[in-house]
């Protein structure tokens, strides 16, 4: 065949581009590991990086000498928070990535569709109702989860209708965002000042609520959800060609849309109910990932996870470093980093 060298060249070029994308993923894993270690090291008592590394090695069963205090700080205090940062960041990144894919809009995320606001309302309502006699450690996450899923199920209902466009879904989501923000304000308005304070603190979003149980639940849910999404990687890629074309390629768009929406809602509800509202990662992480590896979901999806995890992990480091010795709510930090980036993204689009 005359063109055989051209074909070989094209195959090789494709393989090179795949290798490049793997390289980007590996790099992100490395910087994530770095920020993870820094996250463990920073706090009221600063630890050396070697101490942290030794304590981690010790945990993995390697025979390394570590002081007992360091080991306790790392295992019981810092590690749950650091792991939670990685998982929640990753889950927000993936959630945002799939929302953007689904709605064909780079500005979509579970946050902009009112899921986070609904969770906030659920948590506030639970606090207002005195946790219904349960421990607030359990009741508040449940309230947040249930409310988030309820709000999302309105979106599911819309997504199931055959001729609803993604634009209409976004509009409905934004309407829900306003609805739940108003309801949240209402709860705060009728609450006592002390209660209002508690609600506000929950809304800030904070990783300090992380315990090993929370971490295990969030990790389990996130892992399952990400694997299910990965299985649909090619279909989700096809969806980005437009819904009509995805249909023409044999994708059952209604089903895929509903399935993905449910998975994202579960992931978001779980993460948000344990750590509160953390904005911007869901929008920013997928956009960075898209710039780095394009929109082949085989790379885009894992990279969105890694970028999200890295952003939240480094925000966690920053939140402890801003005022040494005290903990700044991480939800505030992510928005402050997120906004300049968001602006850059908007301006960058114009070019």
């Amino acid at each position: 065949m005359i063109h055989s060298t051209l074909v070989t060249d094209a195959v090789n070029a494709q393989r090179r581009s795949e290798k490049r994308r793997w390289f980007v993923i590996t790099c992100l894993m490395f910087v994530l590991l770095l920020s993870f270690v820094f996250d463990i090291a920073t706090g009221p008592s600063m630890l050396g990086l070697t101490e942290v590394a030794n304590a981690l090695a010790n945990l993995l069963g390697l025979p390394v000498e570590v002081s007992r205090t360091t080991q306790v700080i790392v295992t019981n205090l810092r590690l749950p928070i650091a792991v939670m940062a990685v998982i929640v960041g990753g889950s927000l990144g993936v959630g945002g990535a799939e929302m953007q894919t689904l709605l064909n809009n780079p500005m979509a995320s579970p946050y902009t569709l009112g899921m986070a606001a609904a969770a906030g309302f659920g948590a506030a309502l639970m606090l207002y109702l005195g946790s219904l006699g349960m421990s607030s450690q359990i009741a508040v996450p449940i309230g947040a989860f249930v409310c988030c899923m309820l709000s999302a199920s309105l979106l599911f209902g819309l997504a199931m209708m055959r001729h609803i466009t993604s634009g209409q879904l976004i509009l409905a989501g934004i309407a829900l965002l306003f609805l739940f923000q108003s309801l949240l304000s209402l709860v705060q308005f009728v609450s006592s000042p002390e209660l209002s304070q508690q609600i506000l603190f929950w809304l800030f979003g904070s990783l300090t609520k992380a315990t090993w149980t929370n971490v295990a639940i969030t990790a389990g849910v996130t892992l399952v959800c990400v694997l299910v999404l990965m299985k649909d990687a090619w279909k989700l890629t096809a969806l980005r060609l437009g819904e009509e074309r995805a249909k023409s390629l044999g994708v059952n768009v209604t089903r895929l849309r509903l399935k993905t929406l449910i998975i994202v809602a579960i992931m978001t509800a779980t993460a948000t109910s344990f750590v509160g509202i953390i904005g911007f990662i869901g929008i920013v992480a997928p956009n960075i990932a898209r710039m780095l590896v394009g929109e082949d979901q085989r790379y885009f999806l894992p990279l969105s996870f890694l970028v999200g995890a890295f952003l939240l992990s480094s925000a966690s480091v920053l939140s402890k470093a801003i005022v040494p010795g005290s903990l700044f709510p991480i939800g505030i930090v992510t928005a402050i980093i997120g906004v300049p980036f968001f602006f850059w993204l908007i301006i960058g689009k114009k070019r």
Binding site: H3, L6, V7, A10, V11, A13, Q14, S17, E18, M230, A233, W234, K235, T237, A238, R240, L241, G242, E244, R245, K247, S248, L249, G250, V251, N252, R290, G294, E295, D296, R298
Partner: protein, 261 residues
């Protein structure tokens, strides 16, 4: 092969298919023509199972189109919708590969890559394989989407205005490729065209739609007359024949007076 019987489809009082019946043979190119907004794209969507008609049935090889088995029904279709925008961070090769969606796994085998490159090569666009689709022109996108539809190895190929953005060269590449492969592989090829001359040149069977009705059907040389053109489009035209006996249509410039009437 592909049989449509008494199809009726309307949105409120907008009738887009009014008691349409036809039978399309394999190994032939069937071209649908008709004015804007007359139900041509709607008809393709109905054949694809995307719109549900109020009445009538669609059969392929005797098998009835049933909403419960839509996945299997669509398996045999290569369908190229009208919209040719490609605003996505993928390479040309990746877009063409999506034609074989069901065969794709996390690891891409060389066999599939080569099949996609072969599809590109057949329409003379192998050199674009590794380009980002966002850097392509509208016409190039249209050709890439044609390659994607071919990649599906269809039994029924439906093209909705496939040459709307193509230059003369690529018009011919696409239509000749379609013509050759339809005969060779026994596809049922259905395409919507606006250019009556291209339609006359490439159609084995011409279907003329007007306001949801099938007003004429047959070989272009049998049905393409000045009366039909006037009846369907309200345009005065001469219909002549070239040396091969293929009809061609030349519209008459409506004078200043005519437009005042």
């Amino acid at each position: 092969m592909l049989d449509v019987k008494n199809l009726h489809l309307a949105f409120d009082d907008l009738v887009l298919a009014d008691d349409i019946s036809f039978s399309l043979k394999a190994g032939q190119t069937h071209v649908i023509i008709g004015p804007n907004g007359t139900g041509k794209s709607t008809l393709l969507k109905t054949l694809f199972g995307d719109l549900q008609p109020q009445q009538g049935e669609v059969r392929f090889n005797g098998e009835l189109l049933n909403r419960k088995h839509l996945g299997e029904w669509r398996q045999r279709f290569g369908y190229m919708p009208q919209d040719i925008r490609l605003d996505v961070g993928l390479s040309v090769l990746e877009v063409v590969l999506l034609g074989q969606l069901d065969a794709l796994s996390l690891k891409l085998g060389n066999r599939l890559l080569e099949a996609a490159l072969e599809a590109l090569d057949q329409i003379g666009l192998l050199h674009l394989a590794n380009r980002d689709v966002r850097t392509l022109s509208g016409g190039q996108c249209q050709m890439i989407l044609f390659a994607q539809a071919l990649m599906r190895q269809p039994k029924i190929l439906m093209l909705d205005e496939p040459v709307s953005a193509l230059d003369l060269h690529f018009q011919q590449v696409l239509l000749d490729h379609l013509d050759r492969n339809t005969k060779q592989h026994g596809w049922v090829s259905i395409m919507i065209l606006h250019d009556l001359n291209l339609a006359a040149q490439y159609a084995d069977n011409l279907l003329v739609l007007k306001e949801g009705k099938l007003v004429a059907q047959g070989a272009p040389k049998d049905i393409l007359t000045p009366e039909l053109v006037y009846d369907v489009y309200g345009v005065a035209a001469e219909v002549m024949q070239d040396s091969a006996g293929v009809p061609f249509v030349r519209t008459q410039r409506s004078g200043h007076h005519a437009s005042l009437v």
